[in-house]
Symmetry: C2
Subunit: 126 residues, 2 copies
DNA sequence: GCTATTAGTTAACTACAGGTAACTGGTTAC
DNA sequence: GTAACCAGTTACCTGTAGTTAACTAATAGC
């Protein structure tokens, strides 16, 4: 470790760093819901997003999971949680400036998903 | 459904399509290993990648998981499996042309992971 | 008092992702 | 014959991601 012997090792080392970086991303953003929640919130930065509204917007997510995932995202500084002075009380969730760094990731996943649908269609026809 | 009543609904509709697309992506590429395997293979398209070599290259993956994930990726047309005429037999795994469409996704995840490390460091120092 | 809204929490459960380790089967080299 | 390489498979187990449904607590309207 530490000594770089040749080009092969340089490539090897940086590849391992890449894989480690991706492990981190997957650990933080992995699972069924986190990226969906982030996508939902980054699409609506102009409005206030309270708990029930988010739950209605993301098809199929339960209160328990939404609550848990929002906590995780808050811990990782991706979203903020603000209590609103409304009756009944609402809690506003918003993407942080840092959280917006996720946009390129979700953009790529959306594009890839759409593209994959097209690919599947083609494969069925041909 | 079908009738678009106003701009709000248009935005709503396309957002739901986006989320659906992302659900697809997450379903196909989700889990601890698939994206790591794809990253590993797309980084080495010039060489042949046999089973043991991949397992050695991706730290911590077991034969069972690698075997299972490669099968899944093959089913989704992301990689090909070719038996090599070597002694002992080796099996070559390669990313398909279509599989390369995943590169922008893994690129973004690698970048985000690296950036996140930096962010955490800063937060500790400040 | 009853119902509805908000934001969750809690318990009880299931299913599957994933880990560990032993094993098959074929080939080569010593 | 035995050790080492290849490519997996199989069985067993565990932890946790995720589901469902019931429940708390506060406020407002009828």
């Amino acid at each position: 470790m530490g000594t770089v012997k040749n080009k092969g090792n340089v490539r090897e080392a940086s590849c391992q760093e890449e894989l480690t970086a991706m492990r981190d991303s997957i650990e933080i953003l992995g699972g069924k819901w986190k990226l969906l929640i982030m996508r939902y919130l980054t699409n609506r930065t102009s409005e206030s997003n309270h708990f029930k509204k988010i739950q209605r917007g993301i098809n199929g997510i339960s209160a328990k999971m939404l609550s848990k995932e929002l906590k995780d995202l808050e811990l990782n500084l991706m979203v903020t949680r603000t209590i609103q002075n409304t009756r009944p009380v609402t809690i506003d969730y918003a993407v942080t400036e840092y959280g917006k760094s996720i946009i390129p990731v979700t953009d790529m996943l959306v594009q890839w998903g759409l593209n994959h649908r097209e690919k599947i269609k083609e494969d069925i026809l041909v």
